[in-house]
């Protein structure tokens, strides 16, 4: 770049460095954090959980179903359809529906 151009674009040149600094700072800060700090920040809490022998986390408030799924009474039906089984994953649901609408069975 010649001298005249440098004079002409002095303000832009300054802004170029500001924008470059922003990118380097943002990407560098995230990369440094991911590299230097453990990704597993919850390791200490997991160790306490194991030593206390508890089977729940304190991520959600006490007294809620998501906190302690083992307290869900199997006699209380939370299914949206009584035709579906209690324990089911998504693949089961697809399989169940495909069986229900199968032309071979006629159901």
């Amino acid at each position: 770049m010649d001298r005249d151009a440098d004079d002409l674009f002095e303000f832009s040149f300054r802004w170029f460095w500001i924008l470059t600094a922003i990118i380097i700072f943002a990407v560098g800060a995230m990369a440094a954090d991911l590299y230097l700090r453990s990704s597993r920040q919850e390791m200490a809490a997991a160790a306490h959980l194991a030593q206390l022998g508890i089977s729940w986390t304190a991520l959600t408030p006490a007294g809620t179903l998501s906190r302690r799924p083992e307290t869900r009474h199997p006699g209380i039906d939370l299914r949206f359809s009584p035709q579906l089984p209690f324990q089911m994953n998504t693949a089961d649901l697809l399989f169940h529906i495909s069986q229900d609408v199968s032309p071979a069975t006629g159901k």
Binding site: M1, D33, R40, A45, A46, L52, G53, P74
Partner: protein, 386 residues
């Protein structure tokens, strides 16, 4: 080194952007907010899911609860342990006395101290609670006017007041934030569990993958009906909750994508509106390639710094240690939430996806108006004809 010193086209593009500072600033702010909200929503969901899965991976393999016609029932300690201790693959069956009780500010979990917990308390220099005493999680601090730390717990049938003698370490917050450790007698009295009975039985298995396979055998070993929950089921249950929230977050992304499309269209319209300027540049000898390069540089100089800054803000608010807003906003804490230290596993991939999702279409779409203008004569453009 050449990369660190901008060429004339880059400076020209910057100069061009700085001629319209308000429009450039607004576009940059919009792109920053777009990347911030998109990344924050996806990162929060991924971080919570991964953290919950990892925490629960250290929990007992199986939880067994006794069931009767009226609901959950306490199980006798001796027969329960005896029923499972000789089953091959079962390790350390332990009964627990625990339950949810009402505290002064909301529901709390009371758990009776077991012999393995005594060594845990000693390790952290905490006293073993005596009758009428409790060691509590970091979320429970009560100060009565007499200067004593007392905690009143209530259940449907009874209430108890305990002296708080110590608090669990700060690092235990995500596991035991609202936990009250007390003697088995105190726990039984508030939970109305008779002597020699327990709330449930937990055990580990020799091969974690065999936990599900052992469930039928364990179930048959008890002389009463039981319900067995495996660690995998607990993880799945919590992940299911986060998956539902994740779906809601994706709904947030739909207007974000529309906003990106609008930004791209506005940028294109801006170029087309300045057709006389493009005609002048072409008359001065600029080729279509030069004009396309100018547009690419203009877009990149606005988009890349603002999206980087938006991603940094999202990363900071999610992964900064000991954040509390996640609990309040996402997880339904009405009282003070625990300090979350979330897992950043997989965060780099999500941020790279968001970066690519916004930057690549924004920069590439800036070229199409130049293609439209390239097909027209410079004089025609200079006159501002369409």
């Amino acid at each position: 080194m050449k990369l660190l010193f901008p060429g004339l086209p880059t400076l020209w593009a910057l100069n061009d952007l700085l001629r319209q500072p308000a429009k450039t600033t607004l576009t940059a702010a919009a792109l920053m907010l777009l990347s911030f909200f998109s990344a924050a929503a996806l990162l929060a969901n991924q971080a919570l899911d991964d953290t919950a899965r990892h925490l629960l991976s250290r929990s007992p393999s199986l939880v067994i609860r006794r069931l009767n016609a009226g609901g959950w029932a306490p199980m006798p300690v001796g027969p329960a342990v005896k029923a499972v201790e000789n089953i091959t693959g079962v390790i350390a069956p332990t009964t627990r006395i625990w339950g949810a009780v009402a505290g002064p500010d909301g529901p709390l979990t009371i758990l009776a101290v077991t012999p393995p917990m005594e060594s845990y308390l000693k390790k952290y220099g905490l006293p073993l609670p005596a009758a009428g005493q409790a060691v509590v999680g970091r979320g429970i601090v009560q100060n009565d006017p007499n200067g004593r730390n007392r905690l009143t717990l209530a259940s449907l049938k009874s209430a108890i007041t305990l002296d708080i003698v110590a608090q669990l370490p700060a690092a235990s917050e995500m596991a035991a934030y609202d936990l009250v450790l007390t003697t088995p007698q105190d726990a039984r009295s508030i939970l109305n569990i008779p002597e020699k009975m327990a709330s449930d039985l937990v055990l580990d298995v020799f091969h974690p993958d065999e936990a599900d396979a052992l469930a039928p055998e364990l179930s048959a070993a008890f002389p009463w009906p039981v319900h067995i929950t495996s660690r995998k089921e607990a993880q799945k249950q919590l992940s299911g909750r986060f998956a539902v929230q994740g779906t809601l977050f994706v709904i947030i992304l739909i207007p974000a994508i529309l906003a990106l499309v609008l930004l791209i269209l506005a940028g294109g319209q801006d170029v087309l509106a300045r057709r006389s300027e493009a005609g002048l540049l072409r008359a001065l000898g600029w080729t279509s390639r030069d004009l396309a390069r100018l547009q690419l540089l203009r877009s990149a100089l606005v988009c890349i710094p603002s999206v980087s800054l938006g991603l940094l803000c999202a990363y900071t608010i999610i992964f900064y240690p000991k954040i509390q807003w996640v609990g309040k906003l996402y997880l339904g804490w009405s009282q003070k939430a625990p300090a979350y230290c979330l897992s950043s596993v997989g965060a780099a991939l999500i941020m790279a996806e968001i970066f690519a999702l916004i930057v690549i279409p924004y920069i590439l779409a800036s070229v199409w108006p130049v293609m439209v203008l390239a097909a027209q004569a410079p004089l025609f453009l200079m006159k501002g004809n369409r």
